[in-house]
Chain length 309, copies 2
Amino acid sequence: MSVKLDSSDKIHQVLDDYDYFLFDCDGVLWLGDHLLPSVVETIQLLKSLNKQCIFVTNNSTKSRQDYLKKFAKLGIDGISKDEVFGSSYASAIYIDKILKLSKEKKIWILGEEGIEQELHELGYKTIGGTDKKLIEDGVKFSPDHELLSNLDEKVGCVIVGLTFNLNYLKLSLTMQYLLKDNKSLPFIATNIDSTFPSKGKLLIGAGSIIETVSFASGRQPDAVCGKPNQSMMNSIKADHESLQLNPKRGLMIGDRLNTDMKFGRDGGLDTLLVLTGIETEENVLKLNDGNAPTYYANKIGDLFEYHNK
Amino acid sequence: MSVKLDSSDKIHQVLDDYDYFLFDCDGVLWLGDHLLPSVVETIQLLKSLNKQCIFVTNNSTKSRQDYLKKFAKLGIDGISKDEVFGSSYASAIYIDKILKLSKEKKIWILGEEGIEQELHELGYKTIGGTDKKLIEDGVKFSPDHELLSNLDEKVGCVIVGLTFNLNYLKLSLTMQYLLKDNKSLPFIATNIDSTFPSKGKLLIGAGSIIETVSFASGRQPDAVCGKPNQSMMNSIKADHESLQLNPKRGLMIGDRLNTDMKFGRDGGLDTLLVLTGIETEENVLKLNDGNAPTYYANKIGDLFEYHNK
């Protein structure tokens, strides 16, 4: 059963037991543009104790650079790019290091600027994505659209993530690339979260968009790069050898059981669920040992608040 | 094993054996706006022999009235509204006769004008659908959109079908109605075809759009009204008592195994697969007896062409 972190003693024990603190961002540090209580102080505390803070997010609409801007804007100072792991970055790394896709090839994107930026940074050319023409032409769809009959022969990979600029033209073009060359182009999903929490509502998540083109093309993604997939964990461990050697010195903190907690557990880390996102205490207490997080807390800021009590 | 209709004798036998000829439209009579060979003559032949011709389509973007216009435009004369069964009509009938939804309630539509027209004809008010504001506002999505926080309390049912005017706002609004009132609003799918064949290409079908909102909301449709679901067959049989009494006097003609052929077989009719759509002769010959159509033919016009040889 999960231990609730609700006393000074428990918090001091946790601070003794772990060297690496991996944070999901949305629902843990902030909700949309609203910073949660005592977050800045908690990160300052951890850094003052020489703990490694690593930020792990499935939101592929932003690049690591965008995240640094967001941290700064919310007053969380001193975060560097190598402390941020996003699903757009993880996907770009996967395409480069695992698929070893030639830089001569282009990548078709159904997704936002975050994916484009991370791929461009590695030297890839992309099409689709935030192309304004696809947004304009998509307002009134025509089956005669020239791009449907003129696929770019240089495209060597398809990546799909969350996009707010979705339309029938983009979905159908994505489908053409998934069917192309006897369905042989690699199909990469940034993450498969079904929903996207925003302003107290659940909106359509990357996983639901991926379902559309999966069902239409009869293909499942060849790789899912975000949490709970371990490719992002392996990238983190590659950067932090002592976490690789001793994963039990790491604590994965998140608000979702099926992505964050699974991600930590599968990577051999201990886990802390915070109740500022989509899970409730009632549900946590019903979980069997195989699925229960190591700890849970009302909010991440409790680390700071109980520490100083 | 399926019998190939490739001789005058076989065609005369078929014309003797059946009184009801149920036709899928796209891929059988036409491809998009292109009429297939000898279709007009085949329908004239059947009508001259006092056969009942019934047109059964899963394309919910058009109403029955739209279909009459399309028949006339392509030179197929003398078709009346009661010979046409579309998934938009079937869905409207389902909401009225089976769900018995009050006319005081509104229906949220993710779909096109065909659904709106059929529902309006039965006296229902609809929202969503072809509303221009949702298209305009969807070009640049904002999570602050007023409609996301102001759901219409009068909505009593959600219907999803094919739409070419898809965007993130419409998908997210559909999701809000599917989650509303503890997921209790009836969720109706016009049809679940994964793809939509158009101009020699496969585009995104209604079924793939439904997958998005299904996965996002964690709900499956409460009813699927198009082929292969039998609610449309039951409507047809209700209009044609002798088909109900003796379904083996009916022949379902289509180009898809998983919708058209299944629809006919499940209704107790014999089946004819034509190769002008998405299936190949090679695949037909591989089918076991449980899945093989009764007959197959290169094209529907072969009925006329072999008859006159």
